[in-house]
């Protein structure tokens, strides 16, 4: 071993050379913009630039909380993200439990192939499809009116639109999100089931006392990690589906920051809201990782 460490003694400078491109990329695109957050404390004027624009301290933040818009987007963000987190937890668990009962391998494989697919399709394409399917003349409304019901205005009524947003997000990911639970389920020893069957435990009891405890750890871990994303309500999805009629129900922090900043050119205000989101989001994600590490031994690397 001593000889080995002699042979690798000069390696450190090569190691630095190897990480250099990654550090450069990270510095330019990820880190450099962080300096730009001082915009949030200025009355930023693109003509004057970052260093000459007048400094106004916390004015943007005070103004922000007086805006009805901002209170609304905070409420929408929490509500939509929370419903998505809950749905993205329950549906994949239930689906994995059901799929685990299937004994026909061909059926199981085929199902898995199909349900993983939506995760890999873009919200642009899925958004276009959803707009057709749930649109005024789409098949859903054709069916409803054919059966004598009123058409449902999914893209006009806030409540319906929110339901569509949450539902379609869960639909897109349930198969993919079930993968970790399916893996946890295969880890449960078959001996346990056989022993329980001999003891006279029914299917339901085995589910309650063997299967669920067996994947409890994974469920808790995924919940904790999911809750860290309470401020991420899904920009790509909402941006591709919403329109001004449903802003009051589905405008979220990210979509608002985009419109206020890059459409209405209110750079400072939009940066302030964006910064607030980044800081709070960083805190919630860090705390969730910390909890996951403390209680489940979860490590990133």
């Amino acid at each position: 071993m001593r000889k080995l460490s002699c042979l690798t003694a000069g390696n450190k400078k090569h190691y630095w050379l190897m990480v250099l491109p990654a550090l450069f990329w990270m510095f330019c695109i990820n880190i450099a913009p962080i300096g730009g957050v001082i915009m949030a404390f200025e009355d930023f004027n693109p003509g004057l630039g970052l260093f000459k624009s007048p400094w106004i301290g916390l004015e943007n933040f005070k103004y922000m909380f007086q805006l009805k818009d901002v209170r609304q987007i905070l409420g929408n963000t929490f509500l939509i993200a929370f419903c998505k987190i809950i749905g993205n937890l329950i549906v994949p668990v239930v689906f994995a439990l059901l799929l685990n009962e299937v004994k026909n391998m061909v059926f199981k494989r085929t199902t898995q192939t199909i349900v993983y697919l939506p995760h890999f399709l873009s919200w642009v394409a899925l958004g276009g499809m959803l707009m057709e399917i749930f649109g005024y003349y789409g098949p859903i409304n054709m069916l409803l009116s054919g059966l004598g019901f009123d058409r449902m205005l999914f893209f006009q009524e806030g409540g319906l639109f929110r339901g569509l947003i949450i539902g379609s997000d869960i639909w897109k990911g349930f198969g993919f999100n079930a993968i970790v639970y399916l893996a946890a389920l295969t880890g449960i020893s078959q001996d346990l089931y056989e022993a329980a069957a001999i003891d006279g435990a029914g299917k339901w009891q085995r589910m309650l006392h063997i299967t669920l405890p067996g994947i409890k750890g994974t469920i808790i871990l995924m919940t904790v990690l999911g809750l860290g994303n309470i401020l991420n309500a899904g920009f790509d999805q909402i941006y591709n589906l919403y329109n001004p009629a449903v802003y009051s129900a589905a405008d979220i922090i990210d979509t608002w920051v985009y419109r206020a900043g890059l459409v209405d050119m209110q750079f400072s205000l939009a940066s302030a809201v964006g910064l607030l989101k980044s800081v709070v989001g960083f805190t919630t994600i860090s705390v969730s990782y910390l909890i996951a590490y403390k209680f489940a031994g979860y490590r990133i690397f």
Partner: protein, 294 residues
């Protein structure tokens, strides 16, 4: 295992199969519907006759798209972007992951670099400062800008680091004794045994870059620089439902060419559908490496 086949247990099993079948169909039918609409005549689509089989079968819309220079241009931009970004990220990530997979004794800066990466994954300056920075770099209307705009793919870096750490140390030690330096070891030992993880990350990158539309949209000043997804996004007509009446809605519906849009949407999904079989082979192991570790 001995199982009594009672009526109720068979009923429950049947119900389970039914629920699974319905959820699988819910993932498949929207795609079939879009495909069927794109192959149907306009009158059949307008009359709402199309379900999952084309009515009045026609290739007209696909032929029309093939003549649409803007669509083809955007398609090409997307292909270039995918190739460029996959080449850049694989090269950069593999190079960086090798030293970062070393112990802190062999490469003392490892921990601080990794924590810096994690920090960048969880914290950002926000959209506006990022956009201003990209603008200052001159990365507007720039294919290279699109390829790197997402920043360092930290999640994929971690996948590589975790995989490299699991490679047997004896393999490397034998090469060191034979006089191979770190670059030689990386190229001739590490890369050849890391094919599964390279495939996983390559496929993740291809799909993510192909599907990305927002950077493509805000980092381009006009249509001729849009990648395909951004082009599709602006093409799906934006209707402001808060100001239209029901009559106008019907009129708008006739104007927007549902069948043509469906054809464009379907073509935009084809590359992902084509690589999906390969993707499926690798992503399960990829996620397990990334999320659950011993």
């Amino acid at each position: 295992m001995i199982e009594k086949k009672t009526f109720s247990s068979r009923l429950v099993y049947g119900l389970i199969l039914a629920v699974i079948t319905v959820s699988a169909l819910s993932c498949l039918l929207p795609l079939l519907y879009t495909l069927a609409v794109s192959l149907s005549s306009k009158s059949a689509v307008a009359a709402g006759k199309v379900a999952f089989v084309p009515v009045g079968f026609t290739f007209k819309y696909y032929q029309e798209i093939m003549k649409d220079a803007q669509f083809l241009n955007s398609f090409l931009i997307s292909v270039k972007r995918v190739v460029l970004s996959t080449a850049i990220s694989l090269t950069v990530l593999i190079m960086a992951a090798y030293p970062l997979a070393k112990s802190a004794r062999q490469f003392p800066a490892r921990n601080i670099i990794l924590w810096l990466c994690i920090f960048c994954m969880m914290f950002s300056g926000g959209l506006i400062p990022w956009y201003m920075t990209m603008k200052r770099y001159g990365l507007i209307n720039n294919i290279f800008g699109l390829a790197v705009s997402g920043g360092l793919p930290v999640f994929n870096l971690i996948l590589f680091v975790n995989f490299f750490q699991s490679i047997s140390k004896e393999l490397e030690e034998a090469a060191i004794v034979d006089g191979a330096g770190p670059w030689r070891i990386l190229v001739s030992i590490i890369v050849p045994v890391s094919k599964p993880i390279i495939a996983t990350v390559a496929l993740f990158t291809i799909v993510a870059q192909w599907n990305e539309f927002f950077h493509g949209y805000i980092l381009s000043t006009n249509l001729s620089h849009y990648p395909l997804q951004s082009y599709i996004k602006q093409m799906v007509v934006q209707i402001d439902y808060s100001t239209v009446t029901e009559d106008q809605l019907k009129h708008l519906d006739n104007l927007s060419n549902t069948a043509l849009n469906s054809a464009k949407i379907f073509i935009s999904m084809i590359p992902v559908l084509l690589i999906y079989p390969f993707l499926q082979k690798y992503f399960v192991s990829g996620i397990m490496l990334g999320s659950v570790k011993e």
